[in-house]
């Protein structure tokens, strides 16, 4: 709704659009108190927002300038209503969503601010919900969002999704932001919950919107869609019946969402064209190896190790090196795995990552060195970022005795 209103008001009037949405919402609640909630509340809200937009445009036509690209069409009473109607139509709404998505991914904004802005404007998360998603204080997030909106408003026009060159240039930032949004939900460091399905779902919804646009439908977007679907398929088992984190090796594979697996594999196939091999391709391919293995022992660890090797050449990072080492351990045993862990080049960056120590603990335990394993799990426990991680590591620690 904010995106459609911003489209007619112009991006510099984003605050006005947000006020109008707030106002629409308040009015709706007042009326519903007396008349009950209508059968289709969102359609009702849309219609109300549309009328509100027309009111505001009429009233403030002389005082403000609205969307410059719609310019004169909004000035004439003959075209005003039609233009607004169009902006609220289903297809236009999707385009508006894309325009806003690309506008949010302005390279002049830090990546975290881009994701915060997407959550706030496109996903309708309140500031406190966004700060919950980022494990940050409300004040800090509010500042970040306000600053980002100022930059957005200063640009006067929304991103032009019709320009092929600009679209392709901005697309990688959009991919990155959607990927971060997804992983924040999947591996997030939230204080209360280790998995926030709603963030994953939003990332998947926006990726689907991207796939509907002819310019957005690239092999890399397909790879991103594959990777999110394949990971999301495992969401039902990432947390067990007690709300505790569950390791990949312990997961009940019959609970994986086979519909999402099939969809993910289809996306992966569609992504396999063109010359570009992105990190999302590899990430999706690794996820597909797990998804295909109906039993843990069916996993092709050798193939996974070589996929990690490729990933290390595209996007080297200590976390990926750690995951690679774990795959090596599955493939060639804990001794080799530990050697790989100890040879990670930039391991100081892992010094605060609880799962680095957890991995060391796991492998020591497998080698039968219980005392060393305990040490590692204790170190991991001290670094745990939420209650779920704490309970998970506590269980592993107890497994050493």
């Amino acid at each position: 709704m904010v995106t459609a209103l911003t489209r007619v008001f112009g991006v510099h009037n984003i605050a006005l659009a947000e006020d109008a949405v707030q106002d629409t919402f308040c009015r709706a609640l007042e009326v519903w108190k007396f008349r009950g909630v209508p059968e289709n509340p969102s359609a009702w809200l849309m219609a109300t927002a549309k009328n509100r937009a027309i009111d505001i445009l009429r009233r403030e036509r002389t005082a403000r300038t609205f969307a410059p690209e719609l310019g004169r069409l909004l000035e004439s009473e003959w075209t005003l209503t039609t233009v607004v109607e169009e902006c609220f139509g289903a297809n236009e709404m999707k385009d508006d969503l894309l325009r806003m998505m690309f506008s949010c991914c302005n390279p002049r904004l830090p990546e975290e601010a881009q994701v915060a802005l997407i959550l706030n404007i496109l996903c309708g998360f309140s500031v406190s919900e966004v700060s919950g998603a980022f494990v940050s204080t409300r004040a800090a997030i509010e500042k970040r969002i306000v600053r980002a909106k100022k930059l957005l408003a200063a640009s006067k026009t929304l991103f032009d999704v019709a320009s092929v060159a600009e679209f392709s240039a901005r697309l990688p930032s959009v991919h990155r932001a959607l990927y971060l949004l997804f992983t924040e939900g999947y591996h997030g460091a939230s204080a209360e919950k280790a998995v926030r399905v709603e963030l994953c779902r939003e990332a998947m919804r926006l990726t689907a919107v991207l796939l509907e646009h002819p310019l957005g439908r690239t092999p890399v977007t397909y790879a991103l869609a594959a990777l999110t679907s394949l990971h999301a398929a495992r969401l039902p088992t990432r947390v067990d019946a007690f709300g505790d984190l569950s390791a990949l090796v312990d997961q009940d594979r019959s609970q994986w969402d086979q519909g999402l697996v099939a969809e993910g594999l289809k996306f992966l196939e569609l992504s396999a064209t063109g010359a570009e091999l992105s990190e999302y391709h590899i990430d999706a391919a690794i996820a597909s190896m797990h998804a295909r293995a109906l039993r843990l022992e069916d996993t092709d660890w050798g193939a996974i190790v070589s996929l990690y090797d490729t990933l290390m050449t595209i996007r080297p990072s200590p976390i990926i090196a750690l995951n690679r080492a774990i795959a090596v351990a599955q493939h060639e045993g804990p001794d080799r795995g530990l050697m790989e862990i100890h040879s990670i080049a930039d391991s100081t960056r892992l010094a605060t990552y609880p799962f680095y120590f957890a991995a060391c603990g796991e492998l020591e335990l497998r080698r039968g060195r219980r005392e060393a394993a305990r040490e590692h799990f204790r170190a991991a426990l001290a670094l745990a970022r939420n209650e779920m991680e704490r309970r998970f590591l506590d269980r592993r620690l107890n497994a050493c005795t």
């Binding site: 009326v31 007396f34 909630v37």
Partner: protein, 113 residues
């Protein structure tokens, strides 16, 4: 059965969207209950919080009403009850009372000719 009007005064001015939604749901539940017992004659409407006040022989038009938020009539409903005691009793379930508002219960004057 006699008819009564409920005039709802007062509104929440500092509620979060989540709180407002909860309040709305309470209202819907309250209306549903009244309706199920056959007390709703006309659910009525919420009123905008501002408007115009026309006054005196000179018909002076002012913006208004400029009362405090707690005194502004925010909506009305027409109900049916056996007597004012029952109408008052029924009004006690109104969620507006939980947020510092009030319900004014007024019998509607009717002449059966």
């Amino acid at each position: 059965m006699s008819e009564f009007t409920y005039l709802f005064r007062g509104r929440e001015t500092t509620a979060s969207p989540e709180q407002m939604q909860k309040t709305m749901e309470k209202w819907v539940a309250w209306f549903k209950e009244l309706g199920a017992k056959g007390h709703i004659k006309d659910p009525g409407h919420p009123l905008e919080h501002t408007g115009k006040v026309v006054k005196g022989k000179q018909k002076i038009v002012n913006d208004g009403p400029y009362a405090e938020a707690k005194d502004v009539v925010g909506g009305y409903t027409v109900i049916e009850a056996t007597d004012i005691l029952q109408a008052v009793e029924l009004s006690k379930g109104c969620p507006i009372l939980e947020v510092g508002g009030s319900v004014e219960v007024r019998p509607i004057q009717k002449f059966n000719l």
